[in-house]
Structures are given as structure tokens and as C-alpha cells.
Assembly symmetry: C2
Homo-oligomer: 149 residues x 2
DNA sequence: ATACAACTTAAAGCCAACTTTAAGTCAAGC
DNA sequence: GCTTGACTTAAAGTTGGCTTTAAGTTGTAT
């Protein structure tokens, strides 16, 4: 079962031009062509494209993804390198998760800040607010800010 | 207590040119100048710059951050808009967290895949591996892939 | 056989977010 | 007062990741 670039793009929810760009960048060396030169995607190509999407969402640049692809094509001698790259990226995802948690706490604080301000009709309500009226979870946040200055 | 752009950049671990760029883009309208035109950062400027860094790490484009900055300067009439923006960004962070979890599962699977292949000396070890030798947590992942094709 | 949508390429264009360059100014130490 | 390093601006350059354009080809439906 084969798919044209348009069909595959629809399945993956990307533009056909994106897939052509990936191909040009050497990320899709496995894609076959018809006698007339039309790209023919197979079901199994999805696996790699899904992986590619995941790595991209993990913040890996296309160049590195291409390196990974190249190693995969070189066979079993590159297993170690591929494992290293995966572990590096795994660590990067863990770091990003930690970062997002910090960001979420900050956004939760700001949300509370503006909800309170909205009820009061003014941000001035926060000017002289005693510490014990600030929800507990936000207190370390304010402390940390002071400390770092 | 004032800091030059170089000192502030060091504190925030960014390049001075980045802070100048942010200033040019209207993200730092509060920064004072010496009589000679040198930027003089105050301790309290850190708060906004830290927030800016957080929003950036949450994937908010500089244009939107500037909008937020502009609203802040307009006073209490824009509290609602600011709250909406914060909530929108909060949702975006929640979505990103979900995305990173999926990506982490995929990376964990790949890590196991290459660790196993490394021990066996070849990726071929996975070709005919029965489902019950694949760690449980990765099985739904493989099922899902099949389904989507 | 012809029309027509979807495919092909190479090259140029675009956007965000910086970074670099060039030419000049400021200010602290000698 | 002079040197020197850090600052100033405007403008141009860079990078990554596409998207668009232009000119042409393929393949399916009638």
C-alpha cells in the first residue's frame, strides 16, 4: 500500500512542502519513487516520520535528526552512538519538564495575582498584602526572587 | 543600586546584545538611562526580566510578551486581558507537558531498544521478539503505532 | 485524447530571534 | 588629559525551519 506525498502529509497533519523539505535535507532517504519520479510512501515510513515528529517536539534540531538517520542506515556498528544521542535527548526532555514546572508555578501565581486584582478592581490590592494572604504554594517563589537579586 | 547592561546580562546569563534587542523591541521600557545615555538596570528590573525569561521558555513569542508589557503599563483597565493571556499560556504549558510525556515514553522505548541491541550486538534481536519480552510500559506504544497506520 | 489536479524541482522569500559589524561615545584609572 | 574597555546606535548578517513561486511533469477520469 502506497501513499502520495499529499496523502502522507494529511495523515501526519503537516504540509506537503514540509515533507519535501525533510526529504531534501536527507531525513527521508527511504522514500521510494514511481517510474515517473513521484514519491511513494509506505506504511512503515510512518514509524520513522512519527519518531521524527517526536524528536522534533523534543527540541532536537533537524541536523541532529539527520545524523541519527544516517547512523541508522550505517547498521549495527553505530548502536552506541545512537544510544548516546537518545540518552542526551532524554536528559534534555527531563530538563525541559523541570523548566515547564517552574514556568507553570509562575503562571499559576500570576493567574492568582490577576484573579485577585480583578475581584478588587485594581492591582494595588497586592501592594501591601501580608505574606499570610498569599497562597502557600506561591510563597517560596517570592522568597526565591528576593534571594537572587 | 544600578547595573550596566553587561552586569545585568551576566546575572541573567544572556548576551548584552540580547538585552539591547529586547529593549529595541519595546520589552524593557522601564530601563533608565544615565545622562550620557548608558542603560542603568535596577534590582527590581530583574523581576520583569525573570518573568520575561519564564514566558519565553513557555514558548510565548516576544510580540505577545510585548503586548503583555504594554497592558501592564496601561494600568488596571487591562487586568482582564492580562488574565486571559496568562490563562492561555498556562493551557499551552499544560499541553506542552503532555507532549513531553509522550516524547519521554518514546525515548525510553528507544533507549531500551538500543540498550538491548547493544547487549546483543545487533538490532536484529528485535526483529522476531515476542510481545511478552517487551517491557509492559512500551506495549501500548507499539499498539498505538499499528492502529494509526 | 484531453483536461485537470497533484505531483516534480530549484530558487527565492519569510519569520523569529538573535548576533555581528561599523562607527562612534562614555567613564574610570593612571 | 589620555588610554582603555564597556557602552551607544543603526544596519546588515545569520540560523533554523519552513513556505512560496515558477515552470514543468505525471497520472487519473472522462
Amino acid at each position: 500500500m502506497f501513499y502520495t506525498i499529499g496523502e502522507m502529509a494529511q495523515k501526519l497533519n503537516v504540509a506537503p512542502s514540509t515533507l519535501r523539505y525533510y526529504d531534501k535535507e536527507g531525513l527521508l532517504p527511504f522514500v521510494e519513487r514511481s517510474s515517473g519520479g513521484i514519491r511513494m510512501f509506505k506504511d512503515e515510513d510512518m514509524d520513522w516520520l512519527r519518531m521524527l515528529g517526536c524528536l522534533k517536539k523534543a527540541g532536537m534540531p533537524l541536523k541532529e535528526i539527520r545524523t541519527f538517520m544516517d547512523w541508522s542506515r550505517q547498521g549495527d556498528t553505530t548502536i552506541g552512538q545512537r544510544l548516546d544521542l537518545i540518552e542526551k535527548q532524554r536528559q534534555s526532555v527531563l530538563d525541559q519538564q523541570k523548566q515547564l514546572e517552574d514556568t507553570l508555578l509562575m503562571l499559576d501565581y500570576k493567574r492568582w495575582y490577576y484573579q485577585t486584582a480583578q475581584e478588587a478592581g485594581t492591582c494595588a490590592v497586592h501592594d501591601a498584602m501580608p505574606l499570610d494572604q498569599i497562597p502557600e504554594r506561591f510563597r517560596p517563589l517570592k522568597e526565591e526572587w528576593k534571594k537572587e537579586q
